[in-house]
């Protein structure tokens, strides 16, 4: 295991990470982007993990020290069509009064109570929209206030209005803004007055759309791509952190669309980005077997954004497909890889 740290042993931001106990999976992880979701439950000292295997996804709840407690398998609802549909993503959505688990597939969108025990909503992909040439699927999941946004192969983004409890979920809006398949969606609570934008959607062409959520979503900015798919996106203090198929991580100011930082971060397509927003830590993982951790800082005077490399980890011979921080301080993270039947965990404490 190669760990590359930046210089500065006296810098408290720089840490050494150590490999912790792996968490075994029933099925290996599929070669998808954003193929790991983590739900931290500090109140009961538990962490939930969600990984897509293929036609099924696995949910695990894990105690401290990586001790697995319970697991559940969810399957993509069959719907129309003959073959077993593949799941594209599984993601926990934290809403003001509840947490829902959302599962997207080549057939539609399934929403469950957070432990996956009860399906509360099913939205089938409209087969009338089917193209004979293109695959249909839903992909890209994020919650924003009491809304859940889900992307589609067509480029549309579906916005669902979620009640405080119960299954009375309603499709509130369909956003048009993307000419190609949606890849990922990110959101952050609208904090300061200036930060009006709270949702960013990305697609296969690399185009980013910046929205303000509400009963009617408003498109604020479009940040054009450069011919490379955007595979993963995060939003922090009005800055969109974007991972691309060419291994680059870029940071854009969402109000203006200006490029603030460009990192030649990886030698293969980026598969996942994650944020520890309280400390401004960004995690990037790619198919090149590497995971990197970055410290972001926003200079209010100049309006510039700075990035510092904190740590790099190599997961040998593993095409990483998912990575997430496991705690709010960014002092531990978990990684999944294609064909790997375990979740690897790293901690700096």
């Amino acid at each position: 295991m190669v760990a590359a740290d930046s210089e500065g042993p006296s810098d408290p931001g720089v840490r050494m990470f150590r490999r912790q106990r792996s968490i075994p999976l029933r099925g290996s992880a599929a070669a998808l982007s954003n193929n790991l979701s983590v739900l931290q439950l500090p109140v009961c000292n538990l962490t939930h993990f969600g990984v897509v295997h293929g036609p099924s996804a696995q949910l695990l709840s894990v105690a401290p020290e990586g001790v697995p407690l319970a697991q559940r398998q969810l399957h993509a609802k069959e719907g129309a069509g003959v073959s077993s549909p593949l799941i594209t993503q599984v993601h926990w959505c934290a809403l003001p009064f509840r947490v829902l688990l959302v599962l997207t597939s080549h057939r539609g969108i399934q929403m469950y109570e957070s432990d996956g025990s009860v399906m509360v909503y099913w939205h089938a992909l409209d087969s009338r929209d089917a193209s004979p040439v293109q695959a249909m699927f839903a992909r890209g999941i994020a919650s924003c206030g009491h809304f859940i946004c889900v992307g589609m192969w067509s480029g549309r983004v579906l916005v669902f209005d979620i009640p405080a409890k119960g299954p009375n979920i309603v499709l509130s809006e369909e956003l048009a803004g993307h000419p190609t398949s949606v890849t990922d969606i990110a959101s952050e609570p609208a904090q300061e007055q200036d930060c009006m934008a709270d949702v960013v959607t990305a697609d296969d062409s690399g185009l980013l759309c910046v929205w303000r959520s509400g009963p009617e979503f408003k498109l604020l900015t479009r940040i054009p791509g450069f011919g490379v798919p955007c595979t993963s996106v995060q939003l922090w203090k009005g800055i969109a952190a974007v991972g691309y198929g060419n291994g680059q991580v870029r940071l854009y100011e969402t109000s203006t669309g200006a490029l603030h930082v460009q990192i030649n971060a990886h030698a293969r397509a980026i598969c996942a980005l994650d944020l520890a927003p309280e400390v401004g830590k960004l995690l990037s993982a790619a198919e090149d077997t590497f995971v990197h951790i970055w410290k972001l800082s926003k200079r209010t005077e100049s309006g510039c954004t700075e990035v510092e490399h904190c740590h790099g980890e190599c997961v040998p011979d593993t095409q990483v497909c998912g990575a997430r921080f496991c705690d709010p301080s960014g002092s531990s993270f978990a990684v999944t890889g294609y064909d790997l039947a375990e979740i690897l965990t790293f901690s700096s404490e």
């Binding site: 293929g54 073959s83 798919p229 291994g247 510092e308």
Partner: protein
């Protein structure tokens, strides 16, 4: 195999073949030649093909490079059939068709194609001695993913952070330790009918004479997930097999008076070893083979039927009026 209508069928937008359907087509193609294989050698050949393809797809630098790998396959085939201009023309036509269908796809679409292909190979960790010797595969069956060498075309060598101000001027440039040992890509492979593909994946693995074996004993417990695959016949598989039967054309069993033409391929060192392997092969890896009785439809492609030549029937031939029912009935027997 490079017949125009066959290729056109293959290139139609469709879902990924099931493992069963692919194995069936593979068996049929192998037996349509003058080559004879018994079950154990057939299984071994199929495993070898599967792992080699997994290696090629997994190690593609860019998703679009799966197309370059295919071009390498076809270029190598062309090298073997130089003395047959009619066949050369068919392969060139195939290249043109591939360029037409796939040449214009976006990077995102190729990413989806590559991810979908990888689901087919998920959890297969059969060790191939050629790969083990060349150190491209570890003893646990997983492939080595190098962190050195040229980056894919279109990707910059990692290690640089560039920061800009609001006017777009670069204000700071910092290097960081990225952990690998990469260099820039020399040039891009050609996606034309003729050209230097640059990429070595998909070229002849056997350029030097080597014994090739696959190891099935002591493979990981991942085998259990293979065995759990559904064996219920599904309508899509029936459709795939129907199409195959349709295109394979009329089948004639030639009874020759003299010694049988063709050759028997044994992938083991001795005949005894082959028999032994057939007996001791782990249950999970045995592939159920569906016997296809192609119809007597004479308007099927003559050339394809001619290329097929002799077809060895394993079981008692069964003739029935309805082709679809025939296939379903056979699948029910699995």
């Amino acid at each position: 195999m490079f017949n125009k209508s066959f290729i056109e069928e293959l290139l139609k937008p469709q879902e990924l073949y099931s493992k069963k359907a692919l194995r069936t087509i593979y068996d049929r193609l192998a037996h349509a030649s003058i080559m004879k294989l018994n079950q154990a050698s057939m299984d071994k050949l199929y495993d070898l093909m599967t792992m080699a393809l997994k290696y090629q797809v997994l190690l593609c630098p860019r998703p679009k490079d799966v197309l370059l790998v295919t071009f390498n396959h076809l270029d190598t085939i062309k090298g073997l059939i130089q003395d047959n201009p009619a066949l050369l023309h068919l392969v060139d036509e195939t290249l043109r068709q591939l360029i037409e269908v796939y040449g214009g796809l976006s990077a995102g679409e190729f990413q989806l194609i590559r991810q979908t292909l990888l689901t087919f190979f998920q959890d297969l960790h059969i060790r191939v001695s050629l790969f083990l010797k060349d150190k491209v595969q570890n003893s646990n069956g997983r492939f080595v993913l190098p962190v050195s060498g040229p980056v894919p075309w279109g990707i910059e060598v990692p290690g640089l952070i560039r920061m800009f101000d609001n006017k777009g001027e670069e204000v700071r440039r910092v290097e960081f330790p990225h952990g690998g040992n990469y260099v820039t890509a020399p040039k891009e492979g050609s996606f034309e009918v003729y050209g230097d593909r640059v990429l070595k994946l998909g070229t002849n693995m056997y350029s030097v004479n080597r014994p090739v074996e696959t190891h099935t004993s002591g493979t990981s417990k991942n085998l259990s997930s293979q065995a759990q695959q559904s064996i219920a016949p599904n309508p899509l598989a029936k459709e795939e097999l129907n199409f195959l039967a349709k295109l394979m054309g009329g089948m004639e069993i030639k009874k020759t008076s003299g010694p049988e033409p063709g050759f028997r391929l044994n992938l083991f060192t001795t005949d005894e070893e082959e028999e032994q392997a057939a007996l001791t092969r782990p249950e999970e890896l045995s592939h159920e083979v569906v016997n296809i009785q192609a119809t007597q439809d004479q308007q099927r492609n003559q050339e394809l039927a001619r290329i097929m030549g002799e077809f060895e029937v394993m079981d008692q031939p069964r003739w029935s009026a309805s082709k679809g029912d025939d296939l379903l009935a056979m699948m029910d027997e699995l």
